[in-house]
Amino acid sequence: MAEKLTFALVSPERELFHGEVDQVVVPGTEGEFGVLPDHAPLMSTIKPGALRIMNGADERRIFVNGGFADVTPDGLTVLAEDAVDLAEVDSAKLEQDIKDFEEDVRDAKDDAHKTQAERALARAQAMKAALMR
């Protein structure tokens, strides 16, 4: 396959990935979908999960915590809330984090802290689910 897909992964804070790849599999809210070069224009919301970037024999799995995918003739853009490379995630540490966050949710003094802790917990759990597969 000669043609490549221009793919950009951006979070509110910075651009995480920009380059030419073969295929990207996006965890859309209505199911996973793969994007190849010359895909039809598409806009979809993303649920927390693993985004797979395939380039030749290479496959990178990146955890995205919700966001948007926008496919145009120019390529694919994923606007992610936040994103973490799954290869860099340590499963033991993640387990610990989940326990910590669970504790935070229980010990939260007021609503603001509680929502914050719950958000962090949901993120860690989704990351774990993505890692397991």
Binding site: R14, P41, L79
Partner: protein, 292 residues
């Protein structure tokens, strides 16, 4: 005329002040670089988001549009979100933002609107509290954040949306300082809600094909708009942060220079005084010798 010892003490104290301002200037310069980088890194997201919004809002309009985009249909209650810095020692940076906010508030009040003020950043709160204590509805404490990130923006965004959902205001404005350069920050007022589709953002050229929306356009816009608001707040906070360090840097540069001038003047006076003392002593000795 103060004694020589007093001069020496003053020179020493100004010198140590100069050391502090010099150090602060260098710290601010380093942090400015990082803040500028952060503001720049956040730009692609904002740009893409803007083009997506421009694209979507042109196709979803009228009654079906989400409330964040179309507003409440009224224009009576305005929320002014004033973002300033948590700390001072930055020249007129915060005063400039507060002045822009005050002008906006005064204009709104003159039109007979109800104004509510939400502040983020301690300095703005302190300055506005004196004038508009009755209009202040809340304050968001960002002092816990050493660097601004998306969660800080979310904190403000959540609060603003919560108030909007409770029908506490019709229009929201955000006052912050746009970063132009180290010596120039421009206080800016931007409308936050109802969300305005950015100007100049072109919908992408689809080469004749139509977009597939998954789920529907309205749902996507519904999910996208809160993030767009957050994104705008984040951009404002990052610009503010860069501007703050820029202003602090030039303020500290001035302070260092002033301290230098002061040291020079004091040293001159110190030396004069010293010479006068020596001359006086000599005269005493000589006239003493002559008298013999």
């Amino acid at each position: 005329m103060p004694s020589l010892k007093e001069f020496r003490n003053r020179i020493a104290s100004v010198k140590s002040t100069q050391k502090i301002t010099k150090a602060m200037q260098m710290v601010a310069a380093a942090k400015l670089k990082r803040a500028q980088g952060a503001a720049e890194a956040a730009r692609p997201y904002a740009e893409r988001m803007a083009s997506v919004i421009a694209n979507l809002s042109s196709s979803v309009q009228g009654e079906g549009a989400p409330k964040l985009l179309r507003g409440t249909g009224e224009d009576g209650v305005h929320l002014v979100v004033v973002a300033t810095s948590e700390r001072g020692l930055c020249g007129g940076f915060n005063t400039q933002i507060v002045r822009a906010a005050r002008e906006k508030i005064a204009a709104l009040l003159a039109e007979g609107k109800t104004v509510k003020i939400l502040t983020a950043g301690k300095k703005g709160r302190d300055q506005l509290r004196r004038l508009y204590a009755a209009q202040m509805v809340g304050h968001i404490d960002l002092s816990g954040y050493r660097t601004i990130d998306a969660s800080a923006a979310q904190l403000i965004g959540d609060k603003v949306r919560e108030m909007f959902d409770a029908d506490e205001f019709d229009v929201a404005h955000l006052v912050f300082s746009q970063f132009r350069s180290v010596i120039s920050q421009i206080p800016t007022v931007r409308q936050l809600i109802p969300a305005v589709a950015p100007q100049g953002a072109e919908p992408p050229d689809l080469k004749g094909a139509a977009y597939i929306y998954e789920p529907g356009e309205a749902e996507i816009l519904d999910a996208l708009l809160p993030r767009y608001v957050d994104g705008q707040i984040l951009q404002a906070l990052l610009e503010n942060q860069a501007g703050f360090y820029g202003a602090q840097m030039s303020a500290m540069d001035n302070a260092t220079r002033n301290a230098g001038d002061l040291i020079q003047k004091l040293t001159l006076r110190y030396n004069r005084q010293r010479q006068a003392n020596i001359t006086k002593e000599l005269i005493e000795i000589i006239s003493g010798a002559e008298a013999l």
